[in-house]
């Protein structure tokens, strides 16, 4: 098994930062959902990781901890991560994207 990045929505959605989306070396990997966290009263949306594209470099962790200073990203074992975003479940909209969460090992449902 291997490590992938996981973003804590509650911490990320409390900011309007978006920094890690610009620093992940991989394209289409850290995505942004403008509506994430709105049901909990957050208004800025949050970043999330399509874990099937993540190469586990942890650059985003450094950026979130040291540049954004929000400590919202942790590296987690892919089989321990629970439900998360996968490329096949991502939908792009007008200036946003969102994902139906699924388990990267077991698949959807």
């Amino acid at each position: 098994m291997y490590l992938v990045a996981n973003i804590e929505t509650e911490i990320c959605a409390a900011t309007s930062c978006k920094l890690c989306t610009q620093y992940c070396p991989e394209a289409n990997t850290i995505l942004y959902d403008n509506e994430a966290g709105q049901d909990q009263g957050f208004k800025y949306g949050a970043a999330y990781v399509a874990v099937d594209r993540c190469k586990g470099c942890a650059q985003c962790v450094w950026v979130c901890d040291n540049m954004a200073k929000h400590n919202a990203i942790k590296m987690e074992m892919i089989d321990q991560i629970g439900d998360t975003a996968l490329t096949e479940n991502v939908t792009y909209g007008e200036k946003t994207s969102s994902a139906v969460l699924a388990n990267p090992v077991r698949g959807q449902g």
Partner: protein
């Protein structure tokens, strides 16, 4: 080479992979996208085999977002790490033999101008420091002296990364590498100076720990090359494998190197300034208003 080439033949869309459909429907073609919007649209760069955490990968990703007209852009590359990613994007990629990239790009640029006239088709070379400053040195310099109108980008990781750590002309003096165990004996080559001497109209150095700046220099370099003359960008894109940088420290290294010896620099000719300000609204290059005459 136009907006139409990415579209599906009617009726075939449903058989295409999801990533392809996303790219057609939510990619950057025909739209203005910026680095600040990444994560909300489908980028043209796809998965590729470059190493995890490689700064060169990040730079290539940002460059592709920054291309002013991706639907009218052709990239040219050569042997070396970068081509592993550059070739995996939804725009045409031409593979020059090792060192031939600026020769290939010269012919390509001229051919496109014959075929399409004034309609801009942007040619962008992206190659490693070895491919550009050593093996392709003559072709690079000659394309600049001939004032070939395309953009040259050096992915400067200061080593031959793809072949396991030989020194290049762009490696720093005294640097010890796996295949340079005694340390390099001469200074890093001044390719920026040579770009200016040989007539490039726009020359910049950049480090990818500042994504917005990468975006800005790429846009300017590509636009200048359309009409004014050759442009050259030299980007510090560390090799975390050969320089043993832990992947989560790659941006820290980029920051340190930028501060110490790879500061942002920009050189632009007056002609290029006038062109960017008149045609593309770059206010920073507008002639400064004459100081108001002081009342006596």
């Amino acid at each position: 080479m136009s907006l139409d080439y990415v579209k599906f033949t009617p009726g075939f869309g449903k058989f295409m992979p999801k990533e392809y459909r996303d790219m057609v429907e939510h990619g950057p073609f025909g739209k203005k996208v910026s680095v600040s919007q990444v994560g909300t649209f489908k980028e043209i760069l796809e998965e590729h085999p470059m190493c995890a955490g490689c700064a060169m990968t990040l730079f290539i990703r940002l460059a592709m977002v920054a291309f002013p007209n991706p639907e009218d852009t052709i990239t040219v590359g050569t042997a070396g790490c970068g081509r592993l990613a550059i070739s995996q994007a939804a725009i045409p990629f031409v593979y020059g033999n090792y060192g031939d990239q600026n020769g290939v790009a010269s012919g390509l640029t001229r051919g496109l101008r014959l075929r399409f006239g004034d309609r801009p088709k942007d040619v962008v070379v992206m190659a490693g420091d070895g491919g550009m400053a050593d093996i392709g040195f003559a072709q690079t310099l000659h394309s600049w002296f001939r004032k070939e109108k395309f953009t040259t980008i050096m992915l400067d990781n200061e080593v031959y990364g793809n072949t396991g750590g030989q020194e290049s002309g762009m490696t720093n003096r005294n640097q010890v590498l796996k295949m340079a165990p005694l340390g390099k004996k001469f200074e890093k080559m001044d390719m920026l100076g040579m770009a200016k001497v040989s007539g490039c109209a726009y020359v910049a150095t950049v480090v990818p720990n500042n994504p917005r700046r990468v975006e800005s220099v790429i846009k300017k370099a590509v636009l200048v090359a359309r009409e004014i003359g050759p442009s050259y960008i030299q980007a510090y894109t560390s090799c975390n494998i050969e320089y043993a940088i832990p992947t989560d420290k790659v941006m820290e290294d980029a920051k340190t190197v930028e501060t110490d010896r790879y500061k942002f620099t920009e050189y632009i000719t007056d002609e290029a300034k006038e062109y960017l300000s008149q045609l593309y609204g770059y206010k920073e290059y507008l002639p400064k208003p004459a100081a108001a005459v002081e009342k006596q």
